[in-house]
Symmetry: C2
Subunit: 299 residues, 2 copies
């Protein structure tokens, strides 16, 4: 048991949190959200997704978002680029970091991106090659690491295999996603241990969802293992596409509260972050899914 | 690190969860709730509070509840009895277990029950004596073990001192309450370690609130220490009187999901419990605060 002395938070609210919102959100609102998150001390913000507006209409303004940003020194603004076309568009916007998105479940991969896991990795190869030439870092996501909406349990060995493939292809970091939030702490530890036998722990991130209320406990468990990068979404923006009305991404405020309590440095101002969560949920008319945000607002 | 092989859940929803509801709840609804909880496999249900209806009008039907119960074999139905008068009334209803309620914070004790911690313990002495003579077990609660709404941080030594006093007075079990939900896992561990130096671990229970989203992580942390009794409230009934609109008691469903995932036996049927949570929240017009309950309902 050795907690990291500091943790890097990767804020995915502007992308993962907003991408499924049915009503259009003004680009100016997204830009203000990103700016406030940077102002609260977050140093890594996933800001947009370079996918076809046919698939994700909410992210259609990716160019406007990436070029409209007020860049803060020391902050990385990244975007999802599932294919070369998306990457080229992102490069035109001066992007410095992108992400690709794989799965540890064959069925999820087929239903989500209409190809096998192996085929998805083949598709990422030219993205990683082109990004490498452009000096742009690539982050790899692996979904369904603690369960799949179609297959149920996922073997830790499968997660390790896909993670290793992404790492060997050149991803500088692999983010392990509990996409449907079904994980519990010991399962999270066992999965992480399997992956960490293939990839150094400091190249891994935890991307946990709170659909079953376990995300903070799961994060505590993997912090015990040495995880030092955590993905989260301010105010728990996003919800769960697989269980309507249920929680999705763990709330950034609740993660920072945990880390503050454990004495782990993040450089993030919890009150400023909670104020941002209250502001954006009011701006888009959504409930604040951060318990810390609600409690601080009530106090 | 040694998890218990089984955990006893103490369901406090019918008392702690309902006591602050502003609108009257029919006694028949309370009785159905208690019966459904027993049907889901819960073996310890705190059913009522023998306090003056002047202070807690929602618990005014304590006699009707305690005498109207359909008792299930192997299930303990307990009630809060802060004084001799309450205890006598409970004894008339054939009660087999009662509870008294102390605090680890002087200011909280004064504001909540208008006396010092030492004075509150003196008041409990005749309750414990009378209960002992009647062959009725007494459970002791200690509130504010991980923080006080007035004093802020509470020294683990103070929690240990009050817990030991209750145990030495004859409480068979001491339940450690994070009344305002401000605890985080390492603080919970340190507090528990201080108390467990005075009282055997198997005489302690964790009563954690989820106001800051940390309850499941805190429970995981104290399970690592060997805690094997957990208090919770179905559907997270109760809310937090110190932060309007915020969460209070950790939801029983979320606790059982955690324990199931850790392979810890409880004898409780999660689906039946979640159905009970959905039923009672609809019956009283409250949001379901169990993430598991909401997710299972959506699935």
């Amino acid at each position: 048991m050795s907690f990291p002395s500091s943790v890097r938070l990767v804020e995915v609210g502007p992308r993962d949190g907003l991408q499924n919102e049915p009503d259009p959100i003004a680009t100016s609102t997204k830009l203000e959200l990103i700016d406030r998150l940077g102002g609260a001390g977050i140093r890594h913000i996933e800001a947009a997704s370079f996918v076809s507006p046919k698939w994700v209409p909410q992210m259609a303004d990716h160019r406007e978002v990436m070029t409209g940003l007020s860049r803060r020194s020391g902050v990385t603004y990244s975007a999802l680029t599932p294919n070369l076309r998306g990457l080229e568009a992102a490069l035109e916007c001066g992007i410095e970091e992108v992400a690709v998105f794989g799965a540890a479940s064959e069925t999820f991969s087929r239903k989500n991106i209409n190809c096998s896991v192996a085929e998805s990795l083949e598709r990422f190869a030219p993205v990683l090659e082109r990004a490498g030439k452009a000096g742009v870092r690539v982050r790899g996501y692996v979904s369904c690491v603690l369960g799949c909406p179609y297959e149920g349990e996922i073997a830790p060995a499968k997660v390790a295999e896909v993670s290793r493939a992404l790492f060997e292809m050149g991803c500088y970091e692999v983010s392990l996603g509990d996409t449907i939030g079904t994980g519990t702490p010991l399962k999270a530890k066992r999965m992480l241990e399997a992956v960490a036998r293939e990839i150094p722990m400091d190249k891994l991130a935890a991307h946990f969802h709170d659909t079953y209320g376990q995300a903070i406990a799961n994060l505590y468990a993997v912090l015990e293992e040495g995880i030092a990068v955590i993905d989260s979404s301010v105010a728990g923006l996003g919800g769960c596409p697989y269980a309507k009305g249920a929680a999705g991404n763990v709330a950034s405020e609740d993660v920072i509260y945990l880390l503050d309590g454990l004495g782990i440095e993040t450089g993030i101002d919890l009150n400023a972050l909670a104020a941002t969560g209250n502001w954006i949920t009011q701006a888009i008319g959504r409930p604040n899914r951060s318990k810390v945000g609600v409690a601080l607002n009530a106090a």
